[in-house]
Amino acid sequence: MQYVDEFRDPELAKTLLAHIRHKVSAIAKASERPLQLMEVCGGHTHAIYKFGIDQLLPPEIEFVHGPGCPVCVLPMGRIDGCIEIAERPEVIFCTYGDAMRVPGRNGSLLDAKRRGADVRIVYSPLDTLTFAEQNPDKQVVFFGLGFETTMPSTALTLQQAKRRGLTNFSIFCQHITIIPTLRSLLEQPDVRIDGFLAPGHVSMVIGTTPYGFIAEDFHKPLVVTGFEPLDILQALAMLVDQIHDGRCEVENQYKRIVSQQGNALARKALDDVFELKESSEWRGLGSIAGSGVQLTPAYREFDAELRFNTQEHQEVADDPLARCGDVLTGRCKPNDCPLFGTRCTPQNAFGALMVSSEGACAAYYQYRRGLA
């Protein structure tokens, strides 16, 4: 299949793997510990496990699964807020599919649907505008979730809603931004990461420039990469080349999609609709300054939390035994958590890293559990 098969060529993969092995063996001689490379994005985590890339690499490379899955870092309190709105009789609550199973204190959106709430899965937020037009006596609420990958489509939907003068449409805004979180991660004293694989789709919007501080201020190499196995292997080769050569630069493996400046049109829509808010809570990581967005004054009339005057939900403390945050910062592997595979499974997820198929724990459980 065009644009897929050419990025899954086993022969090319072998060549890249041989290159990585060669460079890593030279690095290993000078180092007593394995390299820890963070794939920031859950999409990368999923691809690494699905294609068995981690098994193909030399043991001197360890992956650290970063905070770049918006479903994984979704705090329970925010799901509680969604459910509070979704259970109002006049509301049609619309969400992307993989937010349906994230547990709040009173269950998930799937549970709310079972209890009778009108919760619908959508593939495009623009579909929610059709629901609003077709149901003038209802309030249609869209759960705006995700990084800069999904933010532009929410922004365009809001611009359309304003243009059409819709008064029965609003969004529950849980959009977050990755750059402040990476900075916060690097500022923690005991987090040891030797290099980063940066998310291709976020970078498609923001460009490569915003990652500059990682190389300049923290002296870590970074490669922006796509999601096919050869993308990831080539990016790893570029990363180990940098480490081998003692370079710390922002490089772009995903040039077919990502430019240095990003997508100006998308950024313009984001600037029109969203502004940074003071701080945002991340599940497993706590509050991070400037890492979330809220609607600009021009669009605040579409803020579901203001419209429905939702309660201020307190932060929900995770079980002290759960090590979601440690997995997200590379301090431990998913199966080092005492809840992994026992109290926390995809069927009965305690931590959101197990809920989303992009989560490190879910991927580890699905693809590695029991494999020799």
Partner: protein, 341 residues
Amino acid sequence: MAFTEKDVVTMAHGSGGQAMQQLIEQLFLQAFSNPALNEREDQARIPLSLLTSVGDRLAFSTDSYVIDPIFFPGGNIGKLAVCGTVNDVAVSGAVPQYLSCGFILEEGLPLQQLEQIVKSMADTATAAGVAIVTGDTKVVQRGAADKVFINTAGIGTIPASIQWGAQHIRPGDSILVSGTLGDHGATILNLRENLGLEAALTSDCAVLTPLIAPLRDIDGVRALRDATRGGVTAILHEFAAASGCGMSINEGDLPVNSAVRGVCELLGLEPLNFANEGKLVIVVAPEAEQATLAALRAHPLGKDAEVIGTVTDTARVQLKGIFGASRLLDLPHSEPLPRIC
């Protein structure tokens, strides 16, 4: 019976009165006409001699069909209700012979749609050589059901020489599929979710009796299942649980239509987990592999048949990826949900 666009199912059609009699006489009895049904008793009376002349055991199966949408490229709920149960009977090695059907109709269902569904059932049953010999109709108020639900039960006779079953599976056996995977599931998902990917997506809904018939003559056929809900993954897990063996399949050998692959790539879903309505998963002894493959490929329904893996002695279901690394093939714990990015 000529229905107009305005004719719909009403509560009267389920009342036992004139409207119901009229519907049964003019639609169901005409479409499904056969000697057992035409006797109009409360039960079908089937001569045992007809059954015992074919084999020594009955295969008896039932399933209910609740699909949305009820019409789709490649079929409709009626065709599905016949194919599904006939296939469930046939994979035991039986010759399917009789079906029952029960309808639960939602008040307001256009009668032209019901007529189309019933005709499709009749045509499919005739083509499969089975008779629909007894049935039932109920009508529920609007909102109490989704347009139409159909239950079918089927009976067939298993020839004495056939002993297919998952408990016969042994390490070293070959695993085959009869064609491309996930066509039905991807077609329904595309329609239900309005994904707009019409091109080349057609359900594989089909009666598999003619594809299965030549397999009865091959020594070494261990077990057959049709890979419906849960797809090939679910069948492999069922085989593994029943036999105590492991299943190892090769990603590179899986036949998948490119439109289905496209849907899966877009939504982060797995074609192995998608429903099929006309595909077999077959386990055979290694020496029967080529004969089975040739028999399948000789029929249009099996032209894309492939050997996809082998049975192992390690009790787990795994997929060997295109780069040589293996991963577990987990049984999905619920309906797959698309990823957001």
